[in-house]
Subunit: 236 residues, 2 copies
């Protein structure tokens, strides 16, 4: 046991230990070994210290996860080219990607109102784009709520698929098999449409288009919904 007393002077000045260092070490572990392996102890060990030392910079494990989420969101490119629609779509897709790249982080975003500095930058940019699209304040506010919810959910889904459970056959293959053996009388649509349900295709892109189209065609508050496919005439 006894650590031979490597006087601190001997080591390469050690890692200074700060909130940022801890967050980055956490992201490293998360990406390399998954969410289960991300424990206060593993993070501490990666920084060559004990778990107690982390609590100076991090309130608890949830706080660490939240900080890791916001750090990931720092890598979302905030600007791109094209119409406001295309830029909004690109921003949303990039955010989904940033959240979905690290297992378990998107879940953190789901329950909470965004308050991290980088999350707020994304929200701010989204609001600007929605206003550029001519939406009124209330509709834009609700839209950003809805979009953020979808982004987080899509991030969860993506990270689930990225983290393939190698123990058994792929999740989707198992589900497909289950759908195939369902009683037709009880689940007529699911069984008959089985092929369409598992058909490949870019559902993420389509989902974002659905949301943006829907937002444009569904003003909040006053007007009833234009069910008769009226154009996206968002009258401010």
């Amino acid at each position: 046991m006894s650590t031979p007393p490597i006087s601190r002077r001997a080591r390469p000045s050690k890692a200074p230990l700060s909130r940022d260092v801890i967050v980055r070490a956490g992201l490293d572990i998360l990406d390399r070994d998954g969410l289960e392996a991300l424990t206060m102890r593993s993070v501490a060990k990666a920084l060559d210290t004990g778990p107690a030392s982390l609590y100076v910079y991090v309130a608890n494990r949830d706080d660490l996860l939240a900080a890791m989420l916001d750090e990931s969101l720092a890598r979302v490119p905030l600007s791109s080219e094209g119409t406001w629609r295309e830029r909004l779509h690109a921003l949303a897709a990039a955010t989904v990607d940033a959240m979905g790249r690290h297992e378990g982080l998107a879940v953190v975003a789901l329950g909470a109102i965004p308050t991290g500095t980088n999350a707020l930058l994304v929200v701010d940019r989204m609001l600007a784009l929605l206003k550029e699209g001519g939406l009124d304040d209330i509709t834009a506010a609700w839209a950003v709520d809805l979009l953020y919810l979808h982004i987080a959910a899509a991030g969860v889904e993506q990270s689930t698929y990225n983290t393939q459970d190698a123990t058994e056959g792929s999740t989707v293959a198992m589900a497909e098999a289950r759908y195939a053996n369902l009683p037709e009388d009880r689940y007529p649509m699911v069984t008959s449409m089985r092929r369409a349900l598992f058909a490949p295709g870019d559902r993420d892109t389509w989902g974002l288009r659905v949301l943006i189209n829907g937002i444009l065609g569904t003003p909040a508050e006053g007007a009833p919904d234009p069910s008769a496919g009226d154009g996206p005439g968002a009258s401010a």
Copy 2:
């Protein structure tokens, strides 16, 4: 500690211990004491047994949670009145409600393809309604994917709000305060639209209307739909 040997004959025939009983005991604990309190040990104690006994009927804690989710979905009313749109809306809202009523259960639905018997009934009904609305197979399949994702996410959000954290002031009030003290130059939209962002209103209903409107106006891939015609022809 020695349990006085209450010969099994003396007890009121004890609880027979089955998967259903375990699931229901789990839901009781979840609703009464929250997700943290839902441990294999607490469930076992509620059934007057030890944790090891549960593993005959339940593979592990995740399996138990999944079973609890599906049990909750059994209470979703599968039919209502009105147009197919109104029925779809009602079904989706009811599913959100069922998931959001129990803390932490909606998260289980997020990552996974629905395979529970009751979840599949909901999906089947949704598909039927979407087909009734005239959608082609692919669009209906993608729509049910998107709707289910939204439903689970909205359920998570709802359950988060229901489970008020009594330790500190309400989460939304804290967020509102944070938004008020944000630097205006860095977050111009968030600060200026702060009032709209926290304005009350039925965002859930609006969100579902957005989704349904968007689905109707956004055919998937190469499907000939009546009101198509908006920009991206898309390949992918």
